[in-house]
């Protein structure tokens, strides 16, 4: 077991799966000789050749559509979108095609593919290199949506995604790539899609988060502990399907739900989490549900002042938890 970066988990999962299964291919802009603009695929071009590590022409609909075709004909493509913000041109291929092919063909066809994309802010990426796009895809049955927050999960979840028989949106918070370090177990292992991760048990308030926000929530919980507040942190990890049992069990224990996400507030992932709790565990609640989120402005500004203000962070999370307990 060695301590590694989150992006190492991504790279190792791809390398091992490609080595183990000749059907696995990677395609995207600059994934070949360049090894990806974040270097997620560094070394793969040399190892597996240009037939399997494919520098795509600049067009996301093309990348998604070609990947679907590959998946329909026996391959297991990993399609990289250079930034989640640039996935929007592929929306039709993902929503109309990848998500619906099994259903519309009554199980005659299916599309085992992964779409990987770096999302999220805090890197001076401004409006178009900071977006969180997970919410759009959570409304699309037929897809799965996964967000890792530790190096081990990055690797284990990506392996599960590659082996999955259905299309998986695998979203990597770009700020976590080299910020989040941790041990990755040696050898082959997977982390199941659909199961939340109990980051830390607590009894006063449940904090639900994912990606970078799960890391921040953990930091906030450590801070809160010093003040005598016991916060439970649940890393959702899979956003579609949500781990309903884990969410409801935690609320039944703490009776308070704080949901943290960086995306625009309205109709962000936490709206569904809140709705789920309000439907299934209303009588468990000792306080109103609270969402701590990015604001409802079109996207994250470039300048430091506003970018910092846009992002939730450990201090804001701790403050929100305190307020929930005080009320």
């Amino acid at each position: 077991m060695a301590v590694k970066n989150l992006i190492d988990g991504v790279r190792e999962a791809m390398r091992e799966e490609m080595a183990a299964d000749p059907r696995v291919v990677l395609l995207g802009e600059d994934v070949g000789v360049r090894g990806g603009v974040f270097r997620a695929s560094e070394g793969l071009f040399g190892e597996f050749g240009e037939g399997r590590v494919i520098d795509a022409p600049l067009g996301e609909s093309g990348i998604a559509g070609v990947a679907i075709g590959m998946a329909l004909n026996g391959l297991r493509p990993i399609a990289e979108m250079q930034f989640a913000d640039f996935m929007h041109p592929a929306f039709n291929q993902i929503v109309s095609e990848a998500a619906k092919i099994r259903y519309r063909s009554n199980n005659d066809f299916h599309v085992p593919m992964v779409i990987r994309a770096p999302f999220g802010g805090g890197v001076h990426g401004a409006l178009y290199h900071s977006q969180s796009v997970e919410a759009f895809y959570m409304h699309v049955p037929g897809l799965k949506v996964v967000v890792p927050s530790t190096p081990a999960d990055a690797k284990g979840l990506l392996k599960s995604a590659i082996r999955d028989e259905d299309p998986v949106m695998y979203l990597e918070h770009k700020r976590t790539y080299r910020l989040v370090r941790g041990e990755i177990p040696d050898g082959d292992f997977t982390v199941p899609i659909g199961k939340a991760r109990m980051v830390r048990e607590g009894k006063d308030v449940s904090i639900f988060a994912y990606g970078l926000m799960a890391i921040f929530a953990e930091q906030a919980a450590a801070e809160l502990e010093k003040e005598g507040i016991s916060a439970e942190v649940v890393d959702l990890r899979t956003l579609l399907p949500l781990d309903r049992e884990a969410i409801l069990a935690s609320v039944a224990k703490t009776h308070r739900a704080l949901i943290v996400y960086e995306a625009n507030r309205t109709m962000g992932a936490g709206a569904e989490v809140a709705a789920l709790i309000a439907e299934e565990a209303l009588y468990e609640l000792d306080a109103p549900i609270r969402r701590l989120t990015g604001p409802d402005v079109p996207a994250m500004p470039f300048n430091t002042v506003q970018e910092e203000n846009f992002m939730p962070n450990p201090e804001k999370i701790a403050r929100a938890a305190r307020e929930m307990l005080a009320s």
Partner: protein
């Protein structure tokens, strides 16, 4: 690469048996199509997307490839499906949304083909998406060292979509064996070709991709068959994709919901009806002695009966169940 124009006169490779089968496919396609329309007008079928006028083009390309090739037809391609073994019964089951419909179990609108066993890839309604799938399919086959070709069809209006461009670009960069078959029927619903492109022929679009492009008489079964066959051979030889344009016309409205009198003259429609591809094929088989007039008559009766039987069967067939609706969202 210069644009080529060609009009093949006959496909030397076709046996008399193959020509008779193609003629029968065209007749069956036409008959299904006509009867579906009648069922719609009788209030029995909510929606029909006809192919009338396209039969030569469709049966032409559907019969020119191998079972190991891949077929990505579009919603108008009943003739392609029929040429690959899709029966009247199946067409009628799909029309009425019945459980036995092999393309989708009654989930999709009629005309959305898909049949894994025959390498007919499932299609959707948003136009042009399948064109990219064909590229990925061809890529996968080549990666495995197989010589399969992926053939996909679309309307000329659909060439305006971004996906069309991205697909032709990919296929030409990677020199993939993809056939882009445009059934140019002069209209995208009401929109004439002049509102979809500033070139005369769809095949000119190939030029910007360094790709071979060919315009073919789409009402001539032999020309369509031959052009497809040759383009597939080019693809197999590693010479890259081809853009094939089959010029034809749909002689009925766009769909059962359309009223084509709002956008085109009756004279124009009548003109094209006189160029009917089935009459032309009939004239050929009779002139060449492939069928006697009596045999032709018998064949037409046989086809009518097949369609009658199919309607009866489909009308009796059960609908899918409510429980079925929740299945196959993901692997089970």
């Amino acid at each position: 690469m210069a644009r080529m124009k060609a009009r093949a006169t006959a496909a030397l490779s076709l046996t008399p048996e193959a020509v008779r089968k193609a003629y029968r496919d065209m007749l069956l396609t036409r008959t299904i199509d006509e009867r579906q329309w009648v069922l719609n007008r009788a209030g029995k079928a909510p929606f029909v997307i006809p192919c009338r006028g396209h039969e030569a083009a469709q049966v032409g390309w559907g019969t020119a490839l191998r079972p190991t090739d891949f077929f990505l037809p579009y919603y108008r391609d009943l003739g392609v499906a029929v040429s690959l073994g899709y029966t009247a019964r199946q067409a009628m089951l799909a029309l009425l949304g019945k459980r036995e419909d092999l393309t989708s179990g009654g989930r999709q609108m009629p005309g959305h083909y898909g049949w894994r066993e025959r390498n007919i890839i499932t299609g959707s309604s948003p136009v042009g998406t399948q064109v990219l799938h064909a590229v990925g399919i061809a890529y996968a086959s080549r990666l495995r060292g197989e010589d399969a070709v992926a053939a996909t069809a679309l309307g000329e209006g659909t060439t305006s979509q971004g996906d069309f461009h991205e697909a032709l670009n990919w296929a030409s960069i990677y020199k993939l064996p993809v056939l882009f078959i445009v059934e140019n029927n002069e209209y995208a619903i009401s929109s004439p070709t002049s509102r979809e492109m500033a070139v005369q022929d769809v095949s000119e679009r190939a030029l910007g991709y360094g790709m071979a492009g060919l315009t073919v008489d789409g009402n001539d079964f032999f020309a369509c068959h031959e052009a497809t066959f040759q383009a597939a051979e080019r693809g197999r030889r590693g010479e890259g994709p081809t853009l094939l344009e089959f010029k034809t016309y749909r002689t009925v409205p766009h769909s059962s919901d359309d009223d084509d009198r709002t956008y085109r003259s009756r004279e124009e429609v009548e003109d094209w009806k006189r160029k009917d591809p089935i009459q032309r094929m009939q004239a050929h088989v009779l002139a060449e002695g492939l069928l006697t007039p009596e045999e032709d008559e018998a064949l037409r009766r046989e086809v009518q009966q097949e369609v009658d039987e199919a309607i009866g069967y489909a009308e009796q067939a059960p609908f899918p169940t409510v429980e079925d609706m929740y299945r196959h969202v993901y692997a089970e």
